[in-house]
Every structure is written in C-alpha cells, then in structure tokens.
C-alpha cells in the first residue's frame, strides 16, 4: 500500500467516522427526550376532583383532567359526562383563558353553582372553588406539574 492509497482511505474512513460522531452526539439526548415525551401527556392546565356524585357517574373521589375547553353535561358527547337527573344534556362548559379558569352555564334547567352561588352566563373559577352540576359537586385543583 503506497502513501497515496493510505491517505485516501484514511480520509474516506474519517468521513464515515464523522457521520457516526454526529449520530452519537445526537443519540444520547434523543433517547432521553423520547422517554420523557412518551410519559408526558399534554400539559395539564387543571384538574377536577369529584367531591360528591350520588348517581355514580362520574365516580366519586376520582380526579378528572381538563382540556383547555371542557364540556360538562348528561349527553354522552360531553368531555365530562354527568349522569344525574338534575343535569341537563349540555349543562356547562369550563374554559381556560389567559391564566384563568372560567365556567359558563349553558342555559341549563337547574342551573350551575360555584361555591353555592348560581352562575349566570360566565363566571371565573379559582383553584379550590367548588362547582355544582345537578347533584354532582366538583372541585377545581391545580395541575399536577
């Protein structure tokens, strides 16, 4: 093997090695991120704890996660289904704007209550406040993170 052949092959193998160096450089962080991403759900904005639920749906004591807009009512298409005879099909909607939670009553038959007070239209909802839909009581809690 003469000098030229040695040189050219060193350069060629160096090129391949650099490609792999790039991959390794990325790989470590890659694996870390992938595992984290799989575990990480969409950023939670808030949670509802089911304080009381005589009818059994939703189950008392459970915690429900909230999307930025969450509908509540007896109809099965709602995000949170309240199977209570005093709840309307489409009872209320919880939304998150800016950094505040709001609840809006959707012209329900028996009304929506926050800490005992009836809600007309839209009202802000703070963490720790209790929401009543029919006979079901739900408390808004901070997100897990």
């Amino acid at each position: 093997m003469d000098g030229f052949t040695v040189t050219i092959w060193v350069v060629r193998l160096l090129f391949l090695a650099l490609l792999y160096l790039f991959l390794f450089g990325v790989a470590r962080a890659l694996l870390r991120d992938l595992r984290a991403a799989a575990r990480e759900p969409i950023a939670e904005l808030g949670r509802l704890v089911v304080v009381a639920s005589p009818a059994g749906e939703p189950v008392a004591g459970t915690t429900l996660s909230l999307d930025a807009i969450t509908t509540i009512g007896r109809d099965v298409n709602n995000a949170i289904v309240v199977d209570d005879q005093f709840a309307s099909a489409e009872h209320a909607v919880l939304t998150y704007r800016g950094r505040t939670w709001y609840v809006e009553d959707l012209d329900s038959t028996n009304g929506t209550f926050v800490n005992g007070a009836r809600v007309e239209g839209v009202a802000p909802l703070g963490y720790g406040d209790e929401l009543q839909i029919g006979q079901v009581r739900l408390r808004l809690d901070r997100p897990r993170r």
């Binding site: 093997m1 003469d2 030229f4 052949t5 092959w9 992938l34 991403a37 799989a38 575990r39 990480e40 759900p41 969409i42 995000a79 949170i80 289904v81």
Partner: protein, 492 residues
C-alpha cells in the same frame, strides 16, 4: 372517556418507524454483504464489464498445460485475446470489446479479470491495494489432443462429442461442429466482420451444440428408461414380459396405437441385457409403461433432466416430455409414455446430458458434477477445485446390471451389428447406439453413448452426428476411435 394521550401514540409511531428503518438497514446489509460477492461477479455487472476492457485477462490452458487463450496488444497498447485454435471455441468462447464474452471467458470472466478473489478476506482488503486485480489463469480438464481428434472425426458434419471422466466429472472433450474462429472475433480489427459472418451462417457455428443443442435421442434414451425401471424397482435385470413375444410379431398396441419393432430383433421374450443388445423398442416400451411416467420423470430429473445442468457453461434443458399432459410425469397419455421410453416422443436431449447418463451408469450409479475448470492460478499460487458428487441416482447393483447390458450392446454377437467400430481393442467397452428418426424425409441423427473399461470405467462418451444416418453408421465408429485415442494418449 379517558383517551390515550397523543404523546403515547406518537411514541408508538416512532417505534414503528424505527423498526421500519431497521428493516431497511437489514435490506441494505443483505445486498451489500450477503449477496455482494455473487452480484459483484455477475458477468453483466457493469464493473465487471468495465474492468474486462482494461485488464490483462488470465490465460486458459488445457489439462496438459497447452495454452488455449492468451493476450496480445494492439497498436494502442490495449490488450486483446487470441486463441490457439478453432477447435476449442465452443468451450473457451471469446472475449471481445464489441460483443462481450461467451463460453468460459464469460462464465469465469470475474476470475479471469481478477475482480473476485477466491479468498474472502483478501477480497475485502482488495480495495486498499493499488493494484487490486489478480487475474487468475484457468486450468481446464480439456484435452487439446482429444478435442482435435473429435473435431476431425466429425469432419464436415454438424454434431457434437462429449467425453468426461465418470469418476470425477472432469470434461475432456466438448466439441461442436461447425465451429467458429474466436480469435477473429476477439481481434478488434476483424471483430465486426467475423462476428456478423458467424451470426449469419445458417449452420449456426456459434451454437455450442454439445451443451445447447437439443436433439431427439432415439435409442440411446433407452438407458434412461433402464435407469428408471431398475431404480424404481419396476423391473429386475431378469424380468421378461409375458406378452412380449406376440408383440414382437404383431406390434404392441397401447391405447389403440400400434408400436412396431424394428428389424433384426428376435421374436421371443428376453430380458434387459438382451433387449439392450438388440435395442428392442417393444421391450423398453413395456418397461416404460411398467415404470410409469412419474418414476421415469423422477429418475431422469435425478440425472439432470428438466432443468439447466449444474455446469461451468450455460446449458439447455433436456426434457422427456413437453409436460403439458395430465398423466403422471406430464405425459399426455400412455402412448406418449411408451414412445418416450424408447426415445421417440417429445424427448429432446443435449449431448452433454446423455454423456452424464453414461457417466452415472459407469460410476456405480453416482453422478459427479461435470466441470471444466480444475484449477485457478493467481499471484499467490494455485487453487484446485475438487470434484463434487451431485447424488447417487441408482444403486451399484442396478448400475452393474445396466453395464452388463451395455457391454452386450457393444461386444455381443448381435450387439456388434448395431454398434460397429465402437469397441476399443483390448478394452471391455460398454455402450448404446441410437438412431433418432425425425419423421419425414432426411437421414436420422446418429447417436452413441458409452464408457470404458466396463469393469473400472475411466472415460464416458457421447457422440451425436446430425443427420448421420443410423447409429452404427457414424456415431459408433467415431466413438470407438475416440475411446481408443483416449487410451493411447491420455491414459496409456
């Protein structure tokens, strides 16, 4: 109501894609490592073609070291091939710039140009060398002298001769006539004219008849029937057929079709050895019917029928039937089976295939792989290619029985009439002649297959002379003289 977070699904998709790309890497590995050697040396791989133009190809020599193919340089200093004689053209082929390559030049092109190294590690490291090519010289088992004798013996007739050693599968003669001038094709000056003349010639000199000519076999096919009949146990060497005597007189009726015997066959029952001696159509038709189409096809396949032969050169496929029928073995009906059994149906064979039949019987029923190239010589010395056994076709006992029959065909009182000149003086010779009727006008093909000495065979032979007349007219005496030449020159 709980939905799997999108993040989880995305992770699944990511995993699926990673696996998919892993499969891709595996696929790449398959082609780049596992099949790499095979594809890199394929004759139409452009790297092989490109290299072939520039590299000094290795020489090709016969079993005694006589040079068959070598190189010369033209006025530009670029190499071209020269060949020692026309007689080896069907074997050695040619390597030309315009027309690519043929014959051994083609099938061993990668070795001759040095593109592939027999040693796999060196092959890998080859790219690191400045001069990576190690053109190999090939040593063939061919015997130039015998080949010349064969070609002279065929003379102006079209035909082929194959001679091989049944113990090893080495091919000593692979002659086809008419032949062509390979040097003229390889020489850049005369290349175009010579090639076009050869291609246009109606006698088809470019067709290697020994390996790719397909002919009706006639009675030499009876040996195949004998192999199948004994091998499958349908008959014993002593079997005789009850209805044979009458059939000899009145013809054999199979499903309404009457098979007639040819002249010179006694009107009585007889066994295999006698049937072979007189070349009885009726006996072998009966034997074929008894064996059945499926067994016939199977034993024929064991000797190489039905597929290209495992050989150093490309071969045509020999068949026992067109296989369009629904009877066992592919025959249309039992009439076809009966006719095939004595070699006159839709049966087409190559001379090489028939030589292998003879070699199988000669070698106690074991078929050796036929080959031409016996050694490769490069920078690091010579590497020999060992003989390889393909399979045991029939038992030694069966092979002995057929040998006995074939000895009778050459040396027996009656047999001699059909195979004049085939016997080698002083050597017990076994064989079978064949007359392939082609129907219509014209002479039949003249065939002979055989081997010698019968008790410890060293050489097997197949001779075909197109339109040569009866088997005994051309093929048998030519075979005899060639066998004699073998014992005089190659193995004195």
């Amino acid at each position: 109501m709980t939905r799997q977070p999108v993040g989880r699904s995305i992770a699944h998709v990511g995993l699926a894609l990673t696996i998919a790309f892993g499969v891709l890497a595996g696929g790449a590995g398959y082609w780049q490592v596992i099949r790499s050697q095979e594809l890199s040396t394929a004759p139409d791989n452009p790297a092989v073609v490109a290299a072939a133009r520039q590299i000094l190809r290795g020489r090709i020599v016969d079993r005694n070291g006589k040079v068959l193919a070598s190189n010369e340089r033209d006025e530009n200093g670029e190499p071209y091939r020269v060949y020692s004689s026309k007689i080896v053209s069907p074997v050695v082929g040619y390597a030309s710039r315009l027309y690519g390559s043929a014959g051994i030049e083609r099938s061993f092109g990668a070795e001759l140009t040095g593109l592939s190294d027999p040693d796999p590690i060196r092959n890998l490291l080859k790219k690191f060398q400045t001069d990576p090519y190690d053109p190999q010289s090939l040593t063939l088992s061919l015997s130039f002298e015998l080949q010349r004798a064969a070609v002279r013996g065929l003379g102006d007739d079209r035909g082929a001769v194959v001679m091989l050693d049944p113990r090893t599968g080495e091919v000593l003669v692979l002659a086809s006539t008419p032949t062509f001038d390979a040097s003229a094709i390889a020489n850049p000056v005369t290349s175009k004219k010579a090639f076009e003349a050869a291609a246009d010639d109606r006698a088809k000199p470019l067709l290697p008849r020994a390996t790719q000519g397909r002919y009706v076999p006639g009675s030499v096919f009876k040996i195949v029937t004998a192999v199948a009949a004994l091998g499958s146990g349908a008959i014993e060497p002593t079997t005789t057929f009850p209805g044979q005597q009458q059939a000899e007189r009145d013809g054999l009726v199979v499903e309404g079709f009457r098979i007639r015997e040819h002249g010179g066959v006694p009107v009585r029952r007889f066994d295999l050895a006698h049937a072979t001696e007189v070349s009885s159509n009726i006996f072998f038709a009966l034997a074929g019917l008894e064996t059945g189409g499926e067994n016939l096809a199977e034993y024929a396949a064991r000797m190489g029928f039905g597929a290209p032969l495992d050989f150093d050169l490309p071969t045509a496929v020999s068949q026992i039937t067109n296989a369009r029928g629904s009877e066992p073995g592919g025959f249309i009906d039992r009439v076809e089976l009966a006719n095939a059994a004595y070699g006159q149906a839709e049966t087409f064979v190559t001379p090489l295939q028939m030589a292998l039949v003879a070699a199988t019987v000669a070698n106690d029923g074991e078929l050796m792989r036929p080959h031409l190239v016996t050694a490769l010589t490069g920078k690091d010395g010579t590497r020999s290619l060992a003989p390889r056994s393909l399979r045991q076709v029939i038992s030694k006992a069966d092979a002995d029985a057929i040998t006995t029959a074939m000895v009778r065909a050459v040396e027996g009182e009656l047999g001699r009439q059909f195979t004049p000149g085939a016997k080698v003086p002083g050597v017990e010779t076994a064989g079978k002649s064949g007359t392939a009727e082609l129907g219509g006008r014209g002479e039949p093909h003249s065939w002979f297959i055989g081997f010698a000495p019968a008790d410890d065979p060293q050489i097997a032979i197949a001779v075909l002379v197109e339109r040569g007349g009866r088997g005994g007219e051309r093929a048998a005496p030519l075979a005899g003289s060639l066998l004699e030449a073998y014992f005089d020159t190659v193995a004195p």
